[in-house]
């Protein structure tokens, strides 16, 4: 007897992504910070931003500090951020 089982995992939805543009150098580039503001990461994140400033001197800084740590950042803000930066740091403290 052969039992035929159907795969319960289905397919995965395709996500369209832009081509990633590698950066040779971070100095003077526009940086974006996306941070979830979890209490356990506040000190670290402040120190990280300070270090980025010292080490790479970003041309500009755009921040999305999420009000709701656990929910996705607002899509409109994220879309704008993408246009205004060369690279982003994403902070998921927990």
């Amino acid at each position: 007897m052969t039992i035929r089982l159907l795969d319960p995992t289905g397919t995965v939805a395709r996500v369209e992504r832009r081509e990633e543009l590698p950066l040779d150098e971070l100095k003077g580039k526009r940086v974006g910070y996306i941070f979830n503001q979890h209490k356990s990461g506040l000190a670290f994140w402040a120190a990280l931003e300070e270090q980025i400033e010292k080490q790479f001197g970003p041309a500009s800084v755009v921040r999305i500090y999420k009000e709701n740590t656990w929910a996705p950042a607002p899509k409109a803000e994220m879309a704008k951020l993408i246009e205004d930066i060369d690279y982003a740091l994403v902070g998921l403290a927990a």
Partner: protein, 357 residues
């Protein structure tokens, strides 16, 4: 019937069950091998296109079609007539405000609790009496189980990566209860949520496991019962310290006692809002979210006044009251399912659409 899923073969029932383990199609409990016949029975019962898409299940973004839902329902042991409830629960879970991506990945121990209310509670044979949260009832056991398998197989909610829940709870295997219309002295949940009494509704809440409360409803006053319920809500370790939502499942004895004293369901919510508080001097020593978070407790009271009271429930919408459970002894046992807190996600609900046969 044309089904689209990949097919795997086994030689016998035992190896079919083992194959499900090997393919990581189950979370630890054995499952019913999902054969095409069984899946087709469900699809036929529903009368829907098997490739109809219901949504994407995060974080894996597996595509939930009628077919893939049916496969997981077979594995869970659902009868075909249960599946419309699973579909409605999934639709509610996939609403953006429920934040299932967060629920599937949080370090908290919340899982979607499926609450069924309306005529199908009786027609499908849900147990709303003794052991309402527990074992012994096929509809609640298998509908809750199907939801979990969907979150597992389509959503990829595997412990460790990406599911970071630190503790989890037994409801991660199956978490479904039904509102007891007979024992409910107030409006049933479906009507309270704005649906007709003749409509079956599913509400979903991301909550921790049930914490039993001995209310003493067989011999204590309604006033005392409300104080006991409120005390159970306002603990220092509760995520409710920053608001959010919770489900209070009142045993029928507790509900009857409180209702007989003249409290409506809305009155009960307001009384719990008023009583479930703690002073600032205690709250400020405990865990909290970031102060810039709009749900932080400091926006609810004067944080510089040690005697000011911090409310754990900020609006009637933050507490859902359901009546279920056995009549029991004078202990009047009830349960609190504490929410994820701080509006990390919000409860949602859907009308169940049954096929027109």
């Amino acid at each position: 019937m044309q089904l689209a899923s990949r097919v795997f073969e086994s030689n016998d029932i035992q190896s079919a069950i083992e194959l499900c383990y090997e393919r990581k199609w189950t979370d630890g409990l054995p499952v019913v091998p999902p054969t095409a016949d069984a899946v087709e029975r469900i699809v036929k019962h529903l009368g829907r296109d098997p490739q109809e898409v219901i949504g994407m299940v995060p974080p894996r973004d597996g595509v939930a079609t009628i077919e893939t839902i049916a496969i997981n329902c077979v594995m869970a042991g659902c009868k075909p007539e249960y599946v419309p409830i699973v579909i409605a629960a999934l639709q509610a879970i996939l609403e953006e405000k429920f934040n299932i991506n967060g629920v599937q990945t949080t370090t908290h121990s919340c899982a979607p609790l499926v609450i069924v209310s309306g005529p199908a509670v009786k027609t499908l044979g849900f147990n709303t009496k003794e052991c309402a949260f527990g074992h012994g009832c096929r509809p609640s056991a298998t509908i809750g189980r199907a939801v979990r398998l969907i979150l597992w197989n389509l959503g990829g909610g595997f412990p460790g990566e990406p599911c970071k829940t630190t503790q989890g709870h037994p409801g991660y295997y199956s978490f479904c209860i039904a509102d007891d219309e007979e024992a409910n002295p107030w409006q049933t949940l479906n009507v309270e949520l704005g649906y007709g009494a003749d409509e079956t509704v599913v509400a979903v809440h991301a909550v921790a496991g049930p914490q039993v409360i001995e209310t003493g409803a067989g011999y204590l006053s309604a006033d005392t019962i409300l104080t006991i319920l409120a005390d159970s809500i306002a603990s220092l370790g509760s995520s409710g310290i920053c608001g959010g939502d919770m489900v209070m499942v009142l045993g029928p004895m507790a509900a009857r006692n409180i209702a007989n004293a003249g409290f409506s369901k809305s009155d009960v919510k307001r009384e719990l809002m008023r009583r479930a508080t703690r002073p600032v001097r205690e709250i400020k020593r405990g865990p909290a979210i970031h102060e810039s978070h709009p749900m932080h407790w400091k926006y609810q009271t004067d944080p510089t006044n040690d005697d000011a009271r911090v409310p754990y429930i900020r609006s009637e919408e933050e507490i859902q009251i359901v009546v279920a459970g056995g009549w029991g002894s004078g202990g009047g046992f009830s349960s609190l399912c504490e929410g994820w807190g701080a509006n990390r996600g919000r409860p949602t609900h859907r009308k169940v659409v049954f096929p027109q046969n």
